[in-house]
């Protein structure tokens, strides 16, 4: 249970909420309505679960757990892309799957996440998501790590935050068994959401690492200016602000921070594929404008979803505004430099 009872309705959360700038969302009143009246409000669905408001709360209310509990078993207001990723996760959770398949005996396991289905269903975003996997494996190889690639089901992050805990439990049960039978002691993932989910929502008892935590040892010499966007799952949810920055600066990159960064970073607008609409698009534009203002030629991020959403805005057909910088994943950026430097 979240400690939502200790909320004293100061409204600090609402004043910091990014959704509040563009809509009538109010975390304060969603707590009030749920607690006092037992009401359901739309606000539990418009929340991006970005994690900004719990940081400001004087009562340390665990707003994210509250939202997750409130959403359980209810019909979401909207799911982006008609819920195609949710349907796919639900379909695979209802199948048995094949655990026996293994790709090697390495103690390190690499989980690529859902990049394959992103490639298949977001083909008009014009982003090669599969490159995140190939780049990560390439860089791991450079560090002398030979992981077995885990062919698991979806980690269940999205369905969990969409209020479908039964589906999540099905996926988790399968994946836990898969990980146990693979015999790994370190799980490496290139996705911020997978990283959060395996660390906090699975009790695996093994080490979980995000790829950005490894890349500072690559020893590349890159002479470029970039800016970095903190994904909410890696940053505020997991507290990992330094590793991706170190991965850049240790390889010679000059990092130009945006106006809002680290704990204060703005959201890409579409966490867990819940909200993609006019309001969240305004948030994306705000973030892209900040990135543009740094003058850097590349915007780096460490979450495949942020990557998709920024590139979707950037590659829009009749865009009002053209952004002349690239948006790339950290591993992809480093691997491309590695190839270029050879």
């Amino acid at each position: 249970m979240s400690n939502v009872q200790s909320c004293y309705q100061c409204g600090k959360c609402t004043s910091i909420c990014p959704m509040r700038r563009v809509s009538k969302t109010s975390p304060r009143s969603s707590i009030y309505n749920a607690n006092i009246y037992g009401f359901e409000t739309q606000d539990i669905w418009t929340c991006l679960t970005c994690g900004l408001c719990p940081q400001e709360c004087p009562q340390q209310v665990d707003f994210l757990s509250f939202i997750r509990e409130e959403r359980q078993g209810k019909q979401p207001l909207a799911i982006a892309h008609l819920g195609v990723f949710t349907e796919l996760a639900e379909l695979s959770s209802r199948l048995n799957g094949n655990i026996a398949e293994k790709s090697g005996d390495s103690k390190i396991g690499f989980f690529p996440g859902c990049v394959d289905s992103l490639d298949l269903f977001l083909h008009d975003v014009k982003t090669n998501f599969g490159e995140i996997t190939t780049s990560s494996v390439r860089l791991l190889d450079k560090l002398g790590m030979k992981p077995q690639v885990l062919n698991m089901k979806c980690c269940g992050h999205d369905v969990l935050w969409q209020g479908k805990k039964d589906v999540f439990n099905g996926l988790k049960e399968y994946n836990k068994k898969y990980i146990q039978e693979s015999g790994i002691d370190t799980l490496v993932t290139s996705c911020a959401e997978c990283y959060r989910t395996f660390s906090k929502d699975y009790d695996l008892g093994i080490k979980v690492i995000h790829t950005s935590q490894l890349w500072d040892k690559l020893g590349l010499k890159i002479n470029q200016d970039v800016t970095y966007h903190d994904p909410c799952r890696l940053g505020r949810h997991m507290g990992e602000y330094d590793a991706p920055r170190k991965a850049l600066t240790a390889n010679g990159v000059t990092l130009k921070e945006m106006e809002h960064s680290k704990e204060k970073a703005l959201c890409c607008g579409v966490s867990n594929f819940m909200n993609c609409n006019e309001q969240t698009k305004a948030l994306r534009i705000a973030r892209m404008n900040e990135a543009e203002a740094t003058g850097a030629k590349t915007l780096i991020t460490t979450c495949s979803k942020c990557l998709a959403h920024f590139n979707c805005l950037k590659n829009e057909k009749d865009a009002v505004k053209k952004y002349d910088f690239d948006v790339v994943d950290l591993s992809v950026f480093l691997a491309r430099q590695l190839e270029a430097g050879k």
């Binding site: 019909q75 892309h81 008609l82 379909l91 199948l95 094949n98 398949e101 298949l120 269903f121």
Partner: protein, 177 residues
């Protein structure tokens, strides 16, 4: 990964496949009509859903049908070049092929088919249905497990019904009030 083999495909006696067919209004639906009026025989395994164009069929619809236990999904549209909306069926082809690739990982790709059937091809419609039914019979029943609904975790159990209503209404272009 052959997921279905691992699932120990259930083949119950007297079982008939349950196929959902999305037919585009301008060609395939008329083709199905022609098959009917010309009395071409085909098995009663198929439920036809009319859509305005094959490109109206979202991957999400297909995945949802399979998740809810459909044994096969057929998407039928006009021949390339004949689409009423010029190149809707070309888009459909890209989408359906991508959906097939996604299903391949789950061993489900053979349960999805894309066919071009024109308004004059009543015979072809009946052949496609017969042929697809045979193939599904060989594959056996859809191995999805029915979800166990836990009262605490699914307070609002009617949610799925409303989604069905809404997505079907969307397909037909009307609104649920």
């Amino acid at each position: 990964m052959s997921t279905e083999a691992a699932a120990g495909t259930p083949k119950s006696e007297g079982w008939e496949p349950n196929i959902l067919a999305f037919c585009c209004n301008w060609c395939s639906y008329a083709g199905a009509d022609l098959a009917g009026v010309s009395r071409f025989q085909y098995p009663p395994t198929v439920k036809v859903l009319r859509v305005m164009c094959s490109s109206r069929v979202e991957p999400a619809f297909i995945l949802k049908a399979l998740k809810d236990g459909a044994d096969g999904v057929l998407v039928a549209g006009c021949h390339i070049g004949d689409c009423h909306y010029i190149d809707g069926n070309k888009n459909a082809e890209v989408r359906i092929n991508n959906t097939k690739k996604a299903l391949e990982k789950l061993g489900f790709d053979k349960r999805l088919r894309l066919e071009w059937i024109s308004a004059s091809e009543g015979l072809r419609f009946s052949e496609v249905i017969r042929n697809f039914t045979e193939e599904i019979k060989k594959l056996g029943q859809n191995p999805v497990k029915k979800p166990q609904i836990n009262a605490d975790e699914r307070r609002l159990d009617t949610s799925d019904i409303s989604v069905n209503m809404r997505s079907i209404a969307n397909v037909q272009g009307s609104e649920v009030k």
